[in-house]
């Protein structure tokens, strides 16, 4: 068969090839405009899956980081309150030690009793500490009544002064159900020993009782506070570490996402230049081929 080309072939070839190149240009233009390599799942199904997973992971990581920061802030407030309570207990122990010597006057004993009562009130106030309207020693309950009873209220019992929430508030710092950190401590568990000890001292001072006998209780109250502070410090450190880990994981995930999603602008711009050149060449070559006709040569 003699090879021949019909006029229709020449036009069809030109329009098809130009159409293909224009489509390529449009896609490249879209990549440049959006900065994204993939804008529809059919362009790269595996990449689309990767992008969705990365975006979901990033959203979760952002939450873990935000939650860790929230936890660190709350634990900071807890630590501050416990630190102040510890100082109060040290002062109560000093008063007890002084009064136990028996060398002080009655007036000094009355003054000591008033000071101890102030310590009891201050400890109660610390137990009722609010952070952004939430009781940090009562499960972070919002707008809740003070969990510790007023020492001046009738029938005050330091051993049962707490009536707040029994919830231990946890924050979520990871995907696993166990990846949680407790950021509160129930007030009754951390302040009761201290309140009982200070109330006993006040009672001993008021009744000329055995002040020396109260020193052990005061020490117990201080140690309970101290132990909880150590725990708070450990949990704060855990949350700070977690925030740092999350920041690293976020950076890695962002890198993954960029790899899957972002257009390589150098490559795309180079492809754009190639496609433009090819389109120009196609149109020019097509124009020449189409114009070459016997009719022109014969001036028909």
């Amino acid at each position: 068969m003699i090879a021949r080309v019909s006029n229709s072939q020449a036009f069809t070839l030109l329009s098809q090839r130009a159409g293909e190149l224009e489509l390529s240009l449009r896609r490249l233009q879209e990549e440049i405009a959006t900065g994204r390599r993939i804008t529809s799942p059919d362009q790269d199904p595996a990449g689309a899956n990767e992008i969705i997973r990365s975006q979901s992971n990033l959203a979760a990581l952002a939450q873990y980081r935000s939650t860790s920061t929230f936890g660190v802030t709350v634990l900071g407030a807890v630590d501050q309150a416990l630190s102040e309570a510890q100082n109060l207990m040290v002062r109560a122990e000093e008063v007890a030690t002084q009064q136990a010597s028996g060398l002080l006057s009655d007036a000094e004993r009355v003054a000591a009793r008033e000071e101890v009562h102030g310590i009891l009130q201050a400890l109660t106030s610390l137990g009722n500490t609010e952070f952004a309207g939430r009781r940090i020693f009562a499960g972070l309950a919002l707008n809740a009544a003070p969990p510790f009873a007023d020492p001046d209220s009738p029938g005050y019992d330091p051993a049962n002064a707490y009536s707040g929430s029994t919830v231990e508030f946890e924050v979520k710092i990871g995907g696993g159900a166990n990846e949680r950190v407790r950021i509160t401590t129930r007030g009754d568990q951390v302040f009761t020993d201290a309140l009982v000890g200070v109330a006993a001292l006040e009672n001993a001072l008021a009744t000329n009782g055995d002040v020396r006998a109260t020193i052990a209780g005061l020490a117990q109250g201080r140690e309970t506070l101290s132990a909880e502070r150590a725990s708070v410090g450990a949990r704060q450190a855990q949350l700070v570490d977690r925030a740092s880990q999350v920041a690293d994981a976020k950076a890695a995930e962002e890198s993954n996402l960029a790899r899957a999603q972002d257009a390589d602008l150098t490559l795309v711009l180079s492809q754009l230049a190639q496609a433009q050149t090819a389109l120009q060449a196609t149109l020019q070559a097509g124009a020449k081929v189409i114009q070459t006709s016997l009719a022109n040569l014969l001036n028909l």
Binding site: S8, T12, A48, I52, S56, Q63, R135, L142, A177, L294
Partner: protein
């Protein structure tokens, strides 16, 4: 010397070249006519005769026929390629539209609204009594439900559009069957004198290719030039000028939008509807059927699976807790509905201002209890058995990959089919297409021949005049 044969030879030459010029003109005028096959005059030498001197002398040239230049095998292959091209193209178009509807790569997407929902739950877990946080959870829940509703409705619309396309294509196919039958009659009638009805054959071939684009067919030409058409599974459609069976649609299964779909089939002369398997094995109708009956229901099922699993997982935790007022939420689910199409948030703040208080953030009545909110937030990373052991987000990613893969595969197949069809069309054009340079050459050739024949007439006339003057 006899002058009459010379004039006769010249006359035949003039007529033959005049016809040839007409053929060339026809070719040139149809240079851009789709489906046109170039035509060439079939010149033959006349039968020689014994002249007065007893010698065997030629009688000049003539055109016996005007041939249509086609490669029958190529025409058949082209019809088959058109079937494949239209089938793959229709499927690719539908799946591309589906990928667009389910696209999670552009915000707002189901994936991003789901992430926002879990972000809101995390915020609720950090402040379980916060009304703003509770309001945010309900707002995000409504966004997830609305996106699922939209997707489900869009998939149903795609299915309905595909069904409408099938009905329209069936109508077009019947029109083409009628055209082919009528052309069979016209061709048989036109060719009784032994001449080829070239243009009618081109028109019929065009109709056959269009029909093959809608449904896979087989063709067979009979001795009288008629083409019999049958489906790919052998059911007759056209024989000569008769329609043996017509395409038709009947009520079919229920579609995703709740309305009935159409089952394409055939009807015989008696009006009986025949739903024979394999009748629509190829062509655009087959592509639309594949999308309508397989791809769209699969996508809809995946959406429903996601929606019901999400609904049950959230409700299971919501109903195991206590609301902000300390009441049990055992009878207070967050989500209602039976699937993606009608998933709804039952705690609607617009209808009930106290709705945010009904969210169960705790598993006890203790103030500040956030354990239930934490459990809800844990759903973000919980592998769910109903989703095949993956998380909600991973399921969306996998589905996105599956839909994208289907669309990509269909697009590749369509491109291959398109290339094959284009290659065959190219071959057909190489054989049957008009080349203007070739035609112009022929134009000059036949013009010259015509001029030469005119010259023969002039010379014969001069000789005759000379003879007449001698007689005077």
């Amino acid at each position: 010397m006899a002058l009459s044969p010379v004039l006769s030879i010249a006359e035949r030459a003039l007529l033959a070249n005049d016809t040839a010029l007409e053929v060339v003109g026809n070719n040139i005028s149809n240079v851009n006519t789709p489906g046109y096959s170039r035509q060439v005059p079939d010149f033959r030498a006349g039968e020689p005769v014994v002249d007065v001197s007893g010698k065997l002398v030629g009688t000049g040239g003539e055109i016996r026929a005007i041939d249509r230049i086609v490669e029958p095998l190529l025409e058949k292959r082209l019809a088959g390629a058109e079937t494949s091209k239209q089938q793959q193209g229709a499927l690719s178009d539908q799946l591309s539209a589906l990928a667009g509807v389910l696209n999670d790569l552009q915000d707002p997407s189901l994936s991003s609204t789901l992430s926002s929902f879990f972000d809101a739950l995390d915020a609720l877990a950090n402040n379980p009594a916060g009304l703003a946080e509770r309001q945010a959870v309900l707002g995000r829940a409504q966004a997830v439900a609305a996106e699922l509703n939209r997707r489900s409705a869009s998939v149903a619309t795609l299915q309905r559009n595909a069904d409408d396309g099938i009905v329209a294509d069936v109508g077009t196919a019947n029109d083409l069957l009628q055209q082919i039958a009528a052309l069979n009659v016209s061709i048989a009638s036109a060719e009784t004198g032994g001449q080829k009805a070239n243009d009618l054959r081109d028109a019929r071939q065009q109709a056959i290719v269009k029909l093959a684009g809608l449904v896979a067919i087989q063709t067979q030409e009979d001795a009288r030039g008629g083409v019999s058409i049958s489906t790919s599974n052998g059911i007759g459609l056209v024989t000569a000028g008769t329609l043996v069976h017509r395409f038709a649609v009947d009520d079919g299964a229920q579609g995703l939008d709740g309305l009935l779909l159409h089952t394409p089939g055939l009807v015989d002369d008696a009006g009986n509807f025949l739903d024979v398997a394999g009748t629509f094995a190829g062509g655009a109708i087959a592509g639309l059927l594949a999308a309508r009956d397989q791809s769209f229901p699969a996508a809809s099922t995946a959406l429903d699976t996601f929606a019901t699993t999400f609904r049950d997982a959230v409700n299971g935790i919501q109903q195991a807790g206590f609301d902000l007022d300390g009441s049990s939420t055992a009878a207070v689910p967050l989500f209602g509905g039976t699937g993606a199409r009608d998933l709804v948030v039952l705690l609607d703040p617009a209808a009930d201002p106290s709705a945010p208080r009904r969210l169960a953030a705790g598993t006890t009545t203790n103030p500040g209890d956030n354990t239930n909110a934490l459990a809800l937030a844990d759903l973000r990373t919980t592998a769910l058995a109903a989703l095949g052991g993956v998380t909600l987000s991973d399921y969306l990613g996998i589905e996105q990959g599956r839909v994208g893969e289907d669309a990509s595969r269909a697009s590749d197949a369509a491109e291959v089919a398109n290339l094959l069809q284009r290659q065959l069309e190219n071959q057909r054009q190489a054989v049957s297409g008009v080349n203007l340079n070739e035609e112009l050459t022929n134009l000059i050739r036949y013009q010259n021949a015509f001029q030469a024949a005119s010259q023969v007439v002039r010379v014969a006339n001069a000789v005759l005049q000379d003879l007449v003057s001698i007689l005077r």
